[in-house]
Subunit: 456 residues, 2 copies
């Protein structure tokens, strides 16, 4: 029953039907993104009226290409898509991504056309229709309309909205999250969310799965696939269409049937999904799960550069069920050797305005190394102020080393956005914008760990 | 009972005691910030061992200055502060900002010293001790340790944490929020949160008041002052120290007594405070209240460039008690003339991928002009993609005009952060990072409007 999707995500040769030299056409934008993305395979633009497009030899039709094509991107108008998928089927193409809209999301006539499309495709499996495309960083394949170009990493993302999905990818890119596969699943006429999840559960490149869902084609299949994922890796779900007006909006947009939220809530919990409460939460969770080990307990030490943030962090920990422990005597003794005599000896550990980086890092390691501490939250030690840029970069680099060494989560919170840093951007997926958001993500990690313990 | 604070926020002449040429000293940093900030008054550095500091003539003591000093910044160590405030009292200085820590926040001895400090100051009123300083944009006075330099505007902010307060200012600056007064209130040995609020209630420069609170010196005075504010302008409160561990952290940090959160919740509600649920929420609310009129009802129209965000926005509206109305026939008719025939005629109004700016703006005005619509939420019409920079800037400029013309809130959500724009930064306080956060702020605006109706 499981569908092999290697040809979709690791295609050796692709064709773009409806490729165009006109920069306003999707058939131009997608081809350009594929070329600019540095796709590691063979590209065949198809257009009956062009000899070459964007510097690549063009073909009048799929039939004229002698190479074996793994993946076809269909950028023609909706009414031509059926003829193209018939050709795909004849040429043994394994996957076709049907970009055009105008199918089940526009009413009865569209629904009929969509069924016909699936029937015509036969053994060729379809992504979409009404999709913005697919992405797979392992092949440097950016076969979509978006200009987002996230870096390589463990997060895969299936989105029932193309716009929202690609924009979240773009935001994730800015936040240092590494991505692996992305699919804008569109109307899911053939391949559904459940099919993609089932593949990603066993995909070795994928370590964390994100999913934006407006409705289910088949809720039972979804839950079965979700459980396949959660037994192996975290599955983070944002469910839109939770309310009557959201459902109405979703219907006109992706043709899916949204469902009662109370039922979703219970079902998600049962199969171990991590539920994102907002679109920002979705990325916070992607960051946390992809860059940090799961916490082995609830005992937190807070390191803070500035008292107020320590208070906010302590409140957040308590409200989310974490223990801000009294510091063990051995920890106090070691920190005594680093900080001025008047430090509070409490948790949060306030760095009392010290500007000495080695002392900051010393305190951090004392805390994370201690057996009585499961988690360290470091507030304001990444300052974000231009004067502290080198300090910030070194603190981050050392934190990444300590996370690896002690296999415990260390969450950093940057208090200001004063400069651009390529290093902070590309390695910053353990930096959060506020203590509240860091601890909220940590809580979900702890819940997932508990789920894994119960499920094993 | 009300304290005149003009000399604190609009001083004609200031002295910095403990001014220093050493860049690592607070007496250097604060003086430098005052000078670089372009303070519109006379500056007197005081240091017994320097002829001039940072190019300005220095004086050996306050007594040697013949000018009338309105405001003194005390940057000496704690033990010297008492002598300085005695001199302030003698020289009829109206306000002194006591920067050093080491008073009631460090225990019994410090508590005694703090009482002595207040007594010694006599008629001279004290900010602090244990404060990062004050700011007032109307005088270009940046008399604090922070490098934040927010632009001029209607938001005033009193913070019981200096670090958190100034970092929030810095973030606000990046989000296009205009500020007026800022005080890091420190230990509040003399002037308290209640005093500052009471002044800001009647301060014509201030349109919105923010407050970060860890505890109350006198809860009754606070509530009285809070009500003075809320009858005239919104008061947004973030209360930290909500939990036992937060209270413990607050005690070691600012010496204040935190209080039970259930009691705060009820009291805040009674006096019409708008409660921020997170540090990010605090700035979201500052943006919303300072840049938009209060909504006169709950009827929302959503304009969306991309279906998924429309679903997320519709869900948020419903969950926060807003009506995503069916579009009035006159609105549909007018939009028919702008969008392709296949547009959904529903709310959210999906711009169906159109790239034509004039059509976007046309739809926006049709919605905001309609009597049946109280609020417009525009999602993704500010794209944030570099290719759309001019489009984005023009859309924002026109939105600001429409808000003024129709006196209704229009909230914009930017979906991506692809480029820097001075214009978007300086005018972008009606741009929110997600539909959820925009609608959450809108809900608080609606509640405040209801409070004003009940209170009048």
């Amino acid at each position: 029953m499981r569908i092999q999707m290697e040809s979709l995500f690791e295609p050796e040769a692709i064709a773009v039907i409806g490729a165009s030299s006109d920069p306003n056409k999707w058939g131009h934008r997608i081809l350009r993104n594929i070329i600019n993305g540095g796709y590691a395979g063979r590209i065949y633009p198809v257009n009956p009226r062009a000899k070459s497009i964007l510097g690549i030899k063009a073909y009048p039709s799929l039939t004229e290409i002698t190479d074996q094509i793994d993946l076809v991107l269909i950028c023609t108008p909706a009414e031509k898509a059926i003829d193209v998928v018939k050709e795909c089927q004849k040429r043994n193409v394994k996957f076709a991504v049907v970009i055009p809209a105008g199918f089940s999301e526009v009413g009865e006539e569209g629904r009929i056309a969509e069924k016909e499309l699936v029937r015509a495709a036969g053994r060729c499996r379809l992504v979409g229709p009404n999709t913005m495309g697919v992405m797979s960083t392992s092949k440097s394949l950016y076969a979509y309309m978006s200009l987002a170009k996230p870096r390589k990493g463990p997060v895969s993302f299936i989105s029932q909205s193309g716009n929202l999905g690609t924009q979240i990818l773009g935001r994730g890119q800015r936040q240092g999250i590494g991505f692996c596969r992305f699919v804008s699943s569109g109307n899911e006429a053939d391949l559904t969310m459940a099919d993609y999840l089932s593949f990603l559960a066993r995909d070795n490149e994928t370590g964390v799965v994100l999913s934006y869902i407006e409705g289910f084609k088949n809720a039972i299949s979804f839950l079965r696939s979700a459980r396949e994922v959660t037994r192996r890796k975290p599955l983070i779900v944002y469910k839109a269409g939770r309310t009557p007006v959201g459902v109405r909006a979703a219907r006109s947009h992706c043709g899916a049937l949204a469902s009662q939220d109370e039922i979703c809530e219970g079902a998600f919990l049962q199969v171990g999904c991590t539920r994102a409460r907002s679109t920002e939460d979705l990325l916070d969770l992607a960051k946390a799960f992809s860059s940090l080990p799961l916490p082995s307990g609830r005992r937190v030490a807070i390191l803070s550069w500035g008292g107020g943030w320590g208070v906010v962090g302590a409140d957040s920990c308590y409200e989310k069920g974490f223990e801000v422990i009294a510091l063990p005597p051995s920890v106090i003794e070691k920190i005594d050797a680093l900080l001025p005599s008047y430090w509070s000896r409490g948790n949060p550990v306030d760095l009392v305005g010290s500007l000495d980086l080695e002392k900051h890092l010393g305190c951090l390691e004392i805390l994370v190394a201690n057996d009585g501490i499961d988690i360290v939250l470091a507030l304001g030690t990444i300052s974000g102020f231009p004067d502290f840029r080198k300090h910030d970069e070194r603190f981050l680099a050392r934190t990444i080393e300590l996370v690896r060494k002690y296999k415990k989560p260390i969450m950093l919170v940057k208090m200001f956005e004063g400069y651009e840093s390529e290093y902070l951007e590309s390695h910053g997926s353990l930096i959060f914008p506020s203590p509240e958001r860091a601890i909220s993500a940590l809580r979900k990690m702890y819940e997932y760990k508990r789920y894994l313990e119960r499920a094993s």
